[in-house]
Amino acid sequence: MIVYLLCFALLLVGIYGVLTKRDLIKIILSLGILGYAVNLLLILFAYRNDSVYPILAKGKAVEPMVDPLPQALVLTSIVIELGTTAMLVALAIKLFEKYGTFDITEIRRLKG
């Protein structure tokens, strides 16, 4: 139970960063933390106490195994996050070229 609570605390750290930071780069890092929290949640759901890796080999007794599917999901989700982060960093570079700052309170031309 305590592990799930810590995982939820990590998710809250990510959300806090996205909501309160004023620097583009810090916002991108907070989004990364948010993603890691959810990936950790998936891995925690897959974990079973006193179990082994999920490979059936010849001559090996069948024991309780961890769930392999969320691990595959986490790999996919990490790749997607890589793409998102690259996209966001590229946009941040372009924004710095146009506005000359990383401060989101000064990047405010769209109103109304």
Binding site: I80, L91, A92
Partner: protein, 495 residues
């Protein structure tokens, strides 16, 4: 077996464009037009020939609980037809509009990726696969919003990217909780196991999904990105985003998950009602004060999405009929209005309503079609918007929800007022415009005329003989709720 081709055709086109396109964009245009035309033909053909049967396609022939499965029922076919029509006209409109910005093949590759993502989300029957396709569509949307390379476009794209990433993360958390509760990712299997799951878990997952997909659909508390992103994008992309993307990624998934998987829990139907009503009223009030034409149209997207959510929340067959019908109609008239805004911007170089005027003489086609679309969105008979709004209001009254009906009527009247403003200042204004900067070609005009004709033709879908073959199968899929389980698990296998 045409189900996997909805994903294969546009994806193949996107890769081939990047491979063979040189400095010019001729090949890119030819390839994308061919693929979108093929999709239009396939989707219309499958919608006509598929009467009440469900086709499933198992990828790599893995049996259903283990592998990824594609499902095609009436709702899927209906939304696919909508996506195909709008992407076809958007592409025809794009050819001239994008060439006046730049001769760039990258636009077409991104456009085809956007179509791939949406088709994948609509056709898939597996929750995690839905998430992956959603991300594909969102990447291309972020890039296309920033396509104009001006400072405001990058700003809007960054805002959209941050909010979209947060909502995707929430959706992934919801999928994780649902997987831990049912040990399945296939939607039909999850629906089968849902009755045994604790109702608190359902509530928790539903809250995560409403936050995540509600942001994609731009319902009221999650709407902040939409006016910036949709008004900053190039006009054909604005029409793709407002007309199709927020429905394919938001509304369609909400319908599929909350009706077919969760069996329409009462509390979420109430949430849909309240969110829909708030969206109608606030969206219209924010739209009335706008002077930038595309921003005004973007705020109206929020309001019209509210109507669809209201129809879904009423949850009677009549309300769902109105919601499905309004989904299709909104795609058509909102895309047409964005084309009008794009052609006015191309001709005059401005989007400010106060700087337009006497466009009736200079841009006759644009003015006539925009008049049709404005009447349609305001709910004036005989155009299609009138019938769908009327059905939603009648359904609200029949379900004993008179206040919601009153709010819907008020929203409709305010919509009419704001479009009177567009017509009065924009197209019949006092400002004298001497000459146009760029001429509007036959491709842009033909795209606009096609959708203007469809505005009148689709109102025939409510005529009793035609309603049975077009809208009724779709409504039946939604109102049968968990019939979806038997249909998918015992459906026709297309391998």
């Amino acid at each position: 077996m045409i189900l996997p081709y909805y994903i294969i055709i546009p994806l193949l086109a996107a890769f081939l464009i990047t491979l063979i396109a040189g400095k010019k964009d001729n090949w890119a245009v030819i390839l994308s037009v061919i693929s979108v035309t093929a999709m239009l033909i396939l989707s219309v053909y499958s919608f006509i020939t598929m009467n009440k049967q469900v086709v499933t396609y198992e990828m790599s022939a893995w049996p259903i609980p283990y592998g990824i499965v594609l499902v095609q029922d009436a709702l899927t076919s209906f939304v696919l037809v909508m996506v195909s029509i709008i992407s076809f006209t958007s592409l025809i409109f794009s050819v001239q509009y994008i060439r006046h910005l730049s001769m760039d093949w990258r636009y077409y590759a991104l456009f085809m990726l956007l179509v791939t993502g949406m088709n994948g989300v609509i056709a898939t029957g597996d929750l995690f696969n839905l998430f992956v396709f959603m991300e594909i569509a969102l990447f291309s949307a972020f890039a296309l919003v920033a396509y104009g390379s001006r400072a405001e476009e990058f700003e809007a794209s960054f805002k959209y990217a941050v909010m979209g990433s947060v909502s995707s993360t929430l959706i992934l958390a919801g999928i994780a909780v649902l997987y831990s509760a049912t040990s399945n990712l296939n939607m039909a299997k999850i629906a089968e196991l849902i009755p045994a799951v604790d109702s608190k878990v359902i509530f928790w997952v539903g809250a995560l999904f409403i936050a995540g997909f509600g942001l994609k659909a731009a319902a009221m508390p999650f709407h902040a990105w939409l006016p910036d992103a949709h008004s900053s994008a190039p006009a054909p992309i604005s029409s793709m985003l407002s007309g199709v993307l927020i429905k394919a990624l938001g509304i369609y998934v909400l319908i599929r998950i909350f009706y077919n998987v969760f069996n329409a829990p009462e509390i979420f139907m109430k949430i849909f009602l309240v969110l829909g009503t708030i969206s109608i009223i606030i969206g219209v009030f924010l739209a009335i004060g706008q002077w930038d034409m595309k921003r005004l149209l973007a705020y109206h997207s929020i309001s019209q999405i509210g109507y669809i959510l209201l129809g879904m929340g009423i949850a009677t067959p009549l309300g769902i009929l109105g919601a499905v019908f309004h989904l299709f109609n909104h795609a058509i008239f909102k895309s047409l209005l964005f084309y009008n805004a794009g052609s006015v911007e191309m001709a005059l170089g401005t989007r400010d309503l106060r700087k337009m005027g006497n466009l009736m003489k200079i841009l006759p086609t644009t003015s006539q079609t925009s008049l049709i679309a404005s009447l349609s969105i305001s709910g004036i008979p005989p155009f299609n918007g009138f019938f769908s709004k009327l059905i939603i209001i009648i359904a609200a009254l029949q379900a004993g929800l008179p206040w919601y009906a009153i709010f819907a009527i008020v929203g409709s009247l305010l919509t009419l007022a704001s479009f009177m403003k567009v017509q009065r200042y924009g197209f019949k204004g006092d400002t004298v415009v001497e000459a146009v900067e760029n001429k509007i070609g036959w491709r842009m005009n033909s795209a606009m005329i096609t959708l203007a004709v469809l505005c009148i033709v689709t109102s025939l879908m409510i005529v009793p003989g035609i309603k049975e073959v077009t809208l009724d199968p779709v409504v039946k899929v939604i109102t049968d709720k968990t019939e979806y389980i038997q249909l998918v698990l015992g459906g026709m296998h297309g391998n």
